[in-house]
Amino acid sequence: MPQHQISMVLDLNKCLGCQTCTMACKKLWTDGDGMDYMYWNNVETRPGQGYPRNWDKIGGGFEDGKLRPSELPSKEDYGQTFEYNYAERLFQGGMQAMPQEEVRNTPNWDEDVGALMLGENYYFYLPRLCNHCTNPACLEACPRKAIYKRAEDGIVLVDQERCEGYRYCMKACPYKKIYFNELLGKAQKCIFCYPRIEKGEVNACAKQCPGRLRFVGFLDDPDSAVHKLVHVYKVALGLFPEKGTEPNVFYVPPFNPPRTGSYGKSVLEDPRMPMDYLKYLFGDEVVDVIRRLEGELQRAQSGGASEVLQLLIGRDEHVRYQIPKHEQLIQIGGGHKA
């Protein structure tokens, strides 16, 4: 077990689907060669195909304590990365500007689509990043033991020097949050912005989120918002808990408004979004979370006070992020590839 576990809680009732987190991460970390198709943080519309396409259906994770690797998603599953002929159209009098190939699939292909239940549309946005699991399948799968969990904060990293690009990790991850850089021959993934965390600054995806839906802190810090949301108020759940990796990224589950003509009914009674779908994502526990959150919302909207909702408002950075500065900086130069 690491000494501490850094963690994130995302309130899905505040997500705008704006993809600012995606762009923040892209510009900071995955703007380099070989990384075009990677979105260490992505936002997908749910229900939907997700990114990479069908990642939630193909496997990965553990079953009865054993790794159950999936096939690798295809390049097409990650979506195309378009390039355009602007110089030709705008400056040389050439043909209409178009992507370099016909459009077939993109990382956000089914944005805002969702599904229909009895004629009424439902959906929500699900931002995803590496879950920096307590029992990472990727770490377990790597024959080189080149994936490790930092003792001081539980961040899971792929050693960019020792990785040889076997990609067992990619098959093992149930969330398909490790990517392969074909140019470098390395597996790459979300690093939980450790260079920022070490300096007391929160992840770019959190800091830059205009929806202000992310809470970041140490799960074992009883004063942190994440601790309270996960362990005290118990309103935040991990994705696909049955995969056995013990994710450390949690979600406050989403509501959708009532169906036409059902205003006033409980979301458990006549929901727009089927509860089965939320159970699929978060496990059976989600029903109780939804029930309690609905009660809190009713209390607040009737003039009462709700502690957990006041916390979820997240009025400023001090409420949302509790990142103490690291006492010790990491030893540099001490250890390299073996």
């Binding site: 704006c18 892209k26 390049k75 450790y194 205009p210 408004p257 997240g314």
Partner: protein, 917 residues
């Protein structure tokens, strides 16, 4: 790998399993078996590599700037430079807190701002002056020096002035609030050359005409932090999660704080997912819903009686025979109510003609329900008008569930404070003024306007220049009276082949236009009707791409103009279709300031790097243009031009002297400081100081605004009226719902009513809906690669699954959308949340990207509503952007068919052979 193309090929090869040196395949790896006690779950000794990413998060300098695309966001960003290259940006996130209870404004910014650096260096960036070498829009250019380009432009402008008149030179730049110094550089030039300056807020259909009509203001909304103070927020035609990205959080946080959030929109859009109640309203029927709620409020006595008596015109007396206000003998602007206390008629204080400059009733008690043989009250007339809007009838009209709207009506009437956040989904209809007025009636009846957490709040378009006094003095130094101002909707309609076939009370719109011009209500340039506009100069705007009636304009106006000049940092559609393109500095390469309706702060643009390539800030371009005009005027020995309209003897050899304020303005920072120093909001601030962090305004200009700025309190408008009883800026001195202008009476619109969307294209079954979306700010970012990769790469329109099935259309098909005005071909996406019988395309796609034919405005036509041409009525007079015909577009109807690409189309799609532009 030297470039991206090589890399892409590499990727394809790897996918095929080809053997590439340095890359591994997972199938048959050479395992370097790891024996030893390494347990990476608990400890790892080889962490030296971690410096790799630490080094990536480093920079040499960071400079604060912002973006000006007219998003109403006005977000302060930090831009990071390493090795002389801008590598990324991040929200500065340092807007000072207003109060401990209100969530703060941080981080302010969206995914588009988060990669503006792509444009700075991107292939669309304009790097040198260009002069057209082929046809307009073809994209063939020759490079020119600045001197050659400016000489050409200045020369032509002078030619036009002396040959055809100064009003044949037309200037179009929008929304000063987003970069007032850049705006004013051109408006000063226009003023000193006698050119015509065009409106934009109305042309873009973002002006809510109901605000000048009811309140005598252009637009006044609460700052977005005030949403948190509300207990009932109605998102009405406003998709805040897509269009108010930096501010939407205040609504979702207000919900946790005890507000109920209602979403009213035909489609189940990105904001509706988080509401407590979603009303999927039939498009264009919103006024009916509002009036149904108004009737409910009136019938159940749920209106705020003291507020209504004091703050609205509802108690005022109207003559039953003439339907005109009862006015004092010989006056146009003095009105009466019946005082219940004395039983007598009492002059209403605070009207435009009243001696009393207050609306305080001082003990008088207006009788809202007075009626005798001759006169009655506006309130009683309103009650009669509301009679048909029973909730049952409204449910029929709107397609909503009766139980839902009953609860909505009751909650709106009883939860306080309540506010409406009003968006383009309502404002872009032909009858936008009626819709606005109906909604404003609701917040007035319930006493919600002028209260924190309440009101009718509209943010479509970054129209609020908070430091207005200093700005106006800088932008039009000789005053508005010595500037040719033009409503752009009218100008474009009359100077293009747009021709509305609809008859209004049996007459064509041209009848009303000519009446309006004759009466001096709406100006028209060129004044001589046989003259055509000769030159058009556009900066900070994409006029052509965004114009309603696009296909008509391309065939007429765009052929008739002699000279089209565009200042821009990127080659947008207007630039592409211009004659002279002048490369402007990007948002990160100039000095300016930014304000917005959404918050109460000012913050700067700074030069992260000096203007790249051969670009110059707009300000310098106009400076040099002014110098060039002066130089040419001297060389050509031009006699001063007597501008008769203003009795102004214009010596053009003095153009630069005048433009620079006789040398006072040597650089844009001088302009910024002039604005800051000249406005109560910002007096004492300097441009240099703004670099620290966004600054909250200190006071307000009472001539311009209607509430104070207070520390610790979010700004909401009209507190002068509601708290201090100052008159409203209207004819009656009150929120005015009764408009007895003859044209309003002719059309039965003296009170707000519901009118159906225009039906003159009944043969086309789909509403054509072009809302603002998250992926662009109008046309900016529409061609940005990182944005496009998170969409579907090219323009798409949306259709409901049932409608698609009926037309045999599948997801990702090519489709043709068409009506009598024009057509376009794009791809389609099936969207279950879309409304039946409506097609949506988020707006602003550039013509040059992805369409096989046409563009997003190909199916629209300019429609002018007769009543929006009026003037000479108290507070209803033309003033640039305050009042004038709006460029509505939601009443357009189209049809859609599956489209099979031709062989030439396929060449275009696959970028092979010649293809076509």
């Amino acid at each position: 790998m030297k470039n991206r193309r090589d890399f892409l090929k590499l990727g394809a090869l790897a996918a095929l399993g080809a053997s590439i040196p340095g890359c591994r395949k997972a199938d048959k790896p050479q395992l370097e078996a790891f024996t030893g006690p390494l347990d990476p779950l608990r400890a790892y000794p080889y962490r030296g590599w971690e410096d790799l990413y630490r080094k990536q998060w480093t920079w040499d300098k960071v400079v604060r700037s912002t973006h000006s695309a007219n998003c109403t966001g006005s977000c302060s960003w930090n831009v990071y430079v390493r090795n002389g290259v801008m590598i990324r940006e991040e929200q500065a996130a340092d807007y000072p807190r207003i109060s401990a209870d209100l969530p703060d404004y941080n981080p302010r910014g969206c995914q588009k701002g988060a990669c503006f650096t792509e444009y700075v260096y991107g292939p669309q960036r304009l790097r040198s002056p260009l002069i057209r070498a082929g046809e307009r829009g073809e994209g063939k250019w020759r490079k020119a020096t600045w001197d050659e380009a400016l000489t050409m432009v200045a020369g032509k402008l002078l030619d036009n002035i002396y040959q055809y008149g100064p009003d044949t030179n037309t200037f179009f730049s929008v929304i000063p609030a987003m970069s007032p110094v850049s705006f004013a550089a051109g408006s000063r030039f226009a003023q000193y050359t006698g050119g015509v300056f065009c409106s934009f807020y109305d042309w873009y259909c973002d002006l809510p005409p109901g605000e000048p009509l009811t309140w005598g203001v252009q637009t006044e909304s609460c700052e977005c932090a005030d949403w948190f103070n509300s207990k009932y927020i109605v998102l009405w035609g406003s998709n805040i999660s897509q269009t108010r990205i930096p501010d939407a959080h205040f609504a979702w946080e207000a919900r946790y704080n005890g507000a109920k959030i209602v979403g009213i929109s035909p489609d189940f859009n990105s904001s509706m997912v988080h509401t407590d109640l979603f009303l999927s309203i039939q498009p264009g029927t919103d006024a009916a819903l509002a009036l149904g709620v108004a009737k409910y409020i009136v019938d159940n006595n749920l209106y705020d009686t003291p507020y209504v008596k004091e703050q609205t015109d509802l108690p005022l007396l109207v003559d039953k025979r003439t339907n005109l206000f009862v006015r004092a003998e010989g006056s146009t602007d003095r009105f009466f109510f019946h005082d219940a206390k004395t039983g007598k008629r009492h002059e209403a204080p605070g009207s435009m003609g009243s001696k009393e400059k207050t609306i305080a009733l001082n003990g008088a008690d207006p009788d809202l329900h007075y009626s005798d043989g001759e006169v009655t009250t506006v309130f009683e007339l309103m009650k009669q008008k509301l009679a048909p809007y029973t909730l049952e009838a409204v449910a029929q009209t709107t397609g909503l569930a009766l139980s839902d709207i009953k609860q909505f009506a009751h909650e709106f009437a009883t939860r306080k404070p309540a506010m409406i956040i009003h968006g383009a989904g309502l404002n872009h209809w032909f009858h936008n003024d009626l819709i606005n007025r109906s909604l404003i009636l609701l917040v007035a009846l319930t006493g919600n306007t002028g209260k924190n957490g309440g009101g009718f709040n509209h943010y479509v378009g970054q129209e609020r220049v908070w430091p207005e006094r200093g700005f106006k003095a800088y932008a039009f130094p000789e005053g508005a009276k010595k500037q040719r101002m033009q409503n752009m909707t009218l100008w474009t309609y009359l100077h293009s082949s747009n021709k509305d076939p609809h008859l209004y009370n049996g007459k064509p719109i041209e009848h009303y236009i000519e009446e309006s011009i004759k009466n001096g209500w709406m100006p028209l340039y060129p004044k001589k009707r046989d003259q055509k506009p000769r030159a058009l100069i556009v900066w900070r705007a994409n006029y052509l791409n965004q114009a309603k009636g696009n296909e008509y304009i391309l065939k007429s106006l765009w052929k008739d103009l002699d000279l089209i000049v565009d200042l821009n940092y990127r080659m947008d559609t207007t630039a592409l279709f211009s004659d002279v393109v002048l490369p402007a500095a990007s948002y990160y390469e100039k000095s300016d300031i930014s304000t917005t309706d959404c918050h109460s702060y000012v913050h700067p643009f700074n030069k992260v790097l000096d203007p790249l390539y051969d670009s110059k800030p707009d300000w310098e371009i106009f400076r040099d243009l002014a110098k060039k005009v002066a130089q040419l005027a001297a060389e050509r020995k031009l006699a001063p031009y007597h501008d008769q309209q203003f009795d102004w003897r214009r010596d053009f050899t003095k153009t630069y002297d005048l433009w620079s304020g006789n040398g006072k303005f040597q650089q844009p920072e001088d302009g910024a400081n002039f604005i800051l120093d000249g406005s109560p909001e910002t007096k004492g601030m300097t441009f240099e100081q703004l670099k620290q962090h966004p600054q909250r305004f200190k006071k307000i200009d009472e001539e311009a605004w209607n509430s104070e700025i207070e520390e610790g309190r979010a700004y909401t408008p009209f507190q002068h009226q509601v708290d201090e009883k100052r008159p409203w800026r209207t004819l009656t001195g009150r929120q005015q719902f009764y408009l007895d202008h003859p044209w309003f009476l002719d059309f039965g619109e003296q009170l707000p009513v519901y009118k159906e969307p225009l039906a003159d294209s009944a043969k086309y079954p789909f509403f054509w809906n072009t809302p603002h979306g998250r992926w662009s700010i109008h046309s900016t970012w529409r061609d940005a690669r990182y944005q496009l990769r998170l969409q579907r790469g090219i323009p798409i329109c949306y259709i409901h699954p049932e409608d698609a099935k009926a037309r045999n259309i599948a997801d990702n098909d090519w489709v043709k959308v068409f009506n009598d005005n024009g057509s376009f071909v794009s791809k389609v996406q099936i969207l279950p949340g879309e409304k039946r019988k409506r097609l949506t395309m988020y707006h602003g796609w550039e013509r040059y990207l992805g369409f096989l034919q046409g563009g997003w405005q190909s199916t629209s036509m300019i429609k002018i509503k007769p009543t929006q041409l009026v003037g000479g009525y108290g507070h209803v007079n033309f003033k640039l952007n305050y009042w004038g015909p709006t460029g509505n577009n939601r009443d357009v109807r189209v049809d859609i068919v599956k489209y099979t690409p031709t062989a030439a189309d396929l060449q275009t799609i696959r970028r092979t052979g010649k293809g076509k532009a």
